[in-house]
Amino acid sequence: MVMPQFGYQFMGNIKFLYPEIILSGTLLVLILLDIIFKKRAKWLLVSVSIIGLAVSLYSVNQHAYGQTTLMFGAVVFDRTAAFFKTLFAIVGILSVVILMSSSEVDDEHIGEYLVLLFGATVGMYLLASANDLVMFFLAFETVSLPSYALSGLARNSERSREAALKYLIFGAVSSGIMLFGIVMLAGMLGSTNFEALRDAYSRSAFTPGSMLVIVGLIVAGLAFKISAVPFHMWAPDVYEGSPTPVTAFFSVAPKAAGFAAVLRLFYTIFNSDQNMSVGFINSPEWYVLWGALSVVTMTLGNLAAIPQNNIKRLLAYSSISHVGYMLIGFMVTTSEGIVSILFYLSIYAIMNIGAFYIAILFRESIGTEDINEYKGIGWRMPFLSVAFAVFLLSLVGIPPFAGFAAKLVLFASAIHRGFYLIVLIAVLNSVVSLYYYAGIIRKMFLEQPDKIAVLRKPAGGFLPYFIVLILLAPIIVIGINWNLLFKWILHIVGAM
């Protein structure tokens, strides 16, 4: 009598877990193939990975629109989870695709790269679905551990080894701090399940002020993952040291996972009346926490990006500043704020991967990541340079590119709540950011090359151009009319 019930509670509708199962299965297949073909099956591995991610993407959107919990409520499958999983799968596919154009990860180690990428992606899937503190922490670590290994993947490079060590040490410490917060939360409210925590919290007499300590500890761990200031120190070094395709993945996916985690954890527990109008997430403490984090992150990210000469370091700081903008959405709290974060994340993912992809292609062509060597490249590789300019201007937020829509929607949500000051700071930050993004454009188009360096055409014939075009299209189409994407995201949040 008990067993079927237990079985149903635990695995009831297993179809909801298909995406994770598919990913884990593909991971195992990848390990096997890598061993069987003795590390000489680059194209096979790449194709299997893309197929695996694509099938899981399909399966996510097959079933997930609902509100189902599995494993005694440890994981939940709702539309928010589906959104993030879709985003992770797309980012994963793009990361695998751009890998093919880079020579930084040699063919011998491509299997390891893909296996680690899949490991991190499974973790992110579970993090987006986590509904229990234990699950939450396990998923969080499942994202982190492969990430440490990924950053050290270029074993012969001292830079890469240093990056991996830095990442590991910083990561371990921040995970520890977060775990401390999680334990305190569970101890104070007497449960690990998010819904139970919510009920306990709404019945408890804890003031926002007392919760702030716990939330602060957990946020410290999450801020590390999304590289928000002051937990960002690892990011530029890791971004610079890791192989560029890995950096592209890092700059988007774990950040998105971090945002998913904040939404899952805090917006479930502290959202006592489902409308986000009372409770901790509508207290001044909450605004101040996220507002301060946001302002510091965007300002420091932008200012630190200005003197950078290495394109990966520059994009690292730029991605820090973008996290700063997105944090405004948490400060805003309303469903508009959430929508704007999801909207921003989707657009940011595409434009940032696009920028990194072109940095990879340039590295392949001129053999360096130094922006000073981009001089005059605009006249020699016009298509790629123009595409780069579009991605960069989109990152600034100049219409008619999608980055503008992202910023507009985000700032609009803040203005709607009456948060004018932070929007003012954010738009002034955008002006500052123009300076360093335009610095790259200036090198590419406005300056003449010192010497005519040998240009190697990117490998793969038309494929790189095709990929750039695919990344470029949404930036322009969404920039001109973002109705569809916005509607879709609105639909997702409607079920939250």
């Binding site: 609009a412 203005i415 002006v431 200036r442 188009f445 916005f486």
Partner: protein, 506 residues
């Protein structure tokens, strides 16, 4: 003709696409294609001028479609007596500047593609009636301008280009905040229970659509000032003018023409179209300060121009000075003053366009612009000297030429509101005459500098770029009624604001 304004805006954009597909070796083909794609909007703007009914109230050639319904953003275009002269001016200067761009000798394909994109942006600014659409076009103008100055400009082009870009972006992000604030504090749904926000400038200018928060005087003042900074940077009004001399000196000749002829007008156009209509009470309260800033621009610009040694920088500062007239006229809130201001926007576009073309012609031949480095050019280039004197006299405001009409109207209108300021302002006339005549004397009169004994006189292509502007300057100078007739009815709206929002306590 259906969708007249859409065609005017987007024909150059089609041109951009076409130019990008032309082989880059076929330079002449690229030039003539660009000429064609700027000629069509010129033709269409003439059609618009002919079909425009000046006595009809409200907007004409209206196009109104949904664009992004989630935010109630609309594709909303229209033209009235304020925008029609600007559209024509933009079309004319763009077309002529294609011919002034014959001298561009590298990256022609990219140059003309960007130039056409620039025209699309400018046309959009002057026709958009949705604030969001306006903002998008406003920003689109920045991109090609940055590249056009930065790639084809003079020695300090990179500095000038980024300065221009940063300055203007700074202004427009402030505008963005005001735009969003207006949006969220407007309600165009008559049902009190349903709130429907809007970016529609025409609806926003109806004060009853503003929600209570937007009715507070302090809020409105802050918003007005933020909008003002956005527009003032473009005009540019003292003390936001420092980007202009750099940008002008470094930009290639045709881009200087567009910059001075059209882009500066976007600033004053924005103040009239947006600040004045949406926040009229604040506009009236602060009119005195706008007039003061106008006077500072006039006098300061003129004195600084007098001190210049570089011919092009002199013209750049004279632009600052002449844009001061526009501000003074606008601030007066009298029929003469505002008519004069808008007419000054048009005439300054044509006159300063001529002046920059003239400097460009001389620079192409002598490869420097030092005013003291010439002398006696008139005997060598008589036709050039002739057309230059026309432009110089028009710029000084000599009766019979268009500059006189607009400046006289401005003073006439402003005298009724700010008599003291006008007395200070008239200094400008003397100083302007001073630096213009001095420059003319140093460059054209006296003994000829032996170095320039062999300078060829102005050629047919150059004459073609100057003559239409010269003719317009003379026609408006002699008989300004047609253009005033176009503007009159629309601009009377601004004068009526004075009765609708009487000043209290001032």
């Amino acid at each position: 003709m259906e969708h007249l304004l859409t065609w005017i805006i987007f024909t150059p954009l089609i041109g951009t696409a076409v130019v990008l597909f032309l082989p880059k070796e076929r330079v002449n083909l690229i030039r003539w294609t660009s000429a064609l794609f700027t000629f069509i909007p010129l033709l269409l703007s003439v059609v618009m001028l002919v079909r425009f009914a000046p006595t009809v109230n409200g907007f004409q050639f209206v196009e109104h479609y949904e664009w992004i319904p989630m935010f109630n953003i609309e594709y909303y275009l229209g033209a009235d007596g304020l925008s029609v002269p600007m559209i024509f001016l933009t079309a004319l200067l763009s077309f002529l500047c294609i011919f002034a761009s014959w001298g561009i000798d590298r990256g022609e394909k990219a140059y003309f593609a960007l130039f056409l994109l620039l025209e699309t942006g400018m046309m959009g600014v002057f026709t958009a009636l949705d604030f969001f659409l306006f903002y998008v076009f406003w920003e689109i103008v920045l991109l090609p301008m940055y590249f056009l100055i930065g790639i084809w400009g003079g020695p300090r082009r990179e500095y000038a280009a980024i300065k221009f870009f940063l300055y203007t972006l700074f202004g427009s992000v402030l505008m963005l905040i005001v735009m969003l604030a207006l949006y969220f504090n407007s309600d165009v749904n008559p049902d009190p229970n349903i709130v429907k926000h809007t970016f529609d400038m025409v609806l926003l200018s109806d004060q009853s659509t503003h929600l209570p928060w937007l009715k507070s005087g302090t809020v409105r003042l802050i918003m007005y000032v933020m909008l003002y900074i956005g527009f003032a940077i473009k005009v540019p009004v003292f003390p936001f003018h420092t980007w202009l001399p750099d940008a002008h000196v470094e930009a290639p000749t045709p881009i200087s023409v567009i910059l001075a002829g059209v882009l500066l007008k976007m600033g004053t156009y924005g103040i009239l179209r947006i600040s004045y209509t949406i926040l009229p009470d604040i506009a009236l309260q602060t009119a005195f300060w706008l007039a003061v800033l106008g006077i500072i621009n006039m006098v300061y610009g003129a004195f600084v121009a007098m001190a210049q040694k570089d011919f092009k920088k002199l013209i750049a500062y004279s632009s600052i000075s002449h844009m001061g007239y526009v501000l003074l006229g606008m601030a007066s809130f009298t029929q003469e003053g505002i008519n004069g201001a808008v007419l000054q926007m048009f005439t300054h576009g044509t006159i300063t366009g001529m002046l920059f073309l003239i400097v460009g012609i001389l620079y192409d031949r002598a490869h420097h612009r030092e005013i003291d480095g010439f002398g006696g050019i008139a005997s060598q280039m008589p036709r050039y000297a002739g057309i230059t004197s026309l432009a110089f006299f028009a710029s000084m405001g000599l009766p019979g030429l268009s500059g006189f009409i607009s400046e006289a109207l401005v003073f006439l209108g402003a005298y009724r509101t700010f008599p003291v300021l006008v007395f200070i302002g008239v200094i400008t006339i003397v100083v302007t005459a001073g630096y213009m005549l001095w420059t003319f004397q140093k460059v054209f009169l006296g003994g000829i500098n032996e170095k320039y004994r062999t300078l060829p006189d102005i050629n047919a292509r150059e004459m073609f770029t100057l003559a239409p502007l010269g003719i317009i300057v003379v026609i408006i100078g002699v008989y300004p009624m047609p253009i005033l007739h176009i503007m009159d009815n629309t601009l009377s709206f601004f004068v009526r604001l004075k009765d609708l929002f009487p000043l209290t306590g001032m």
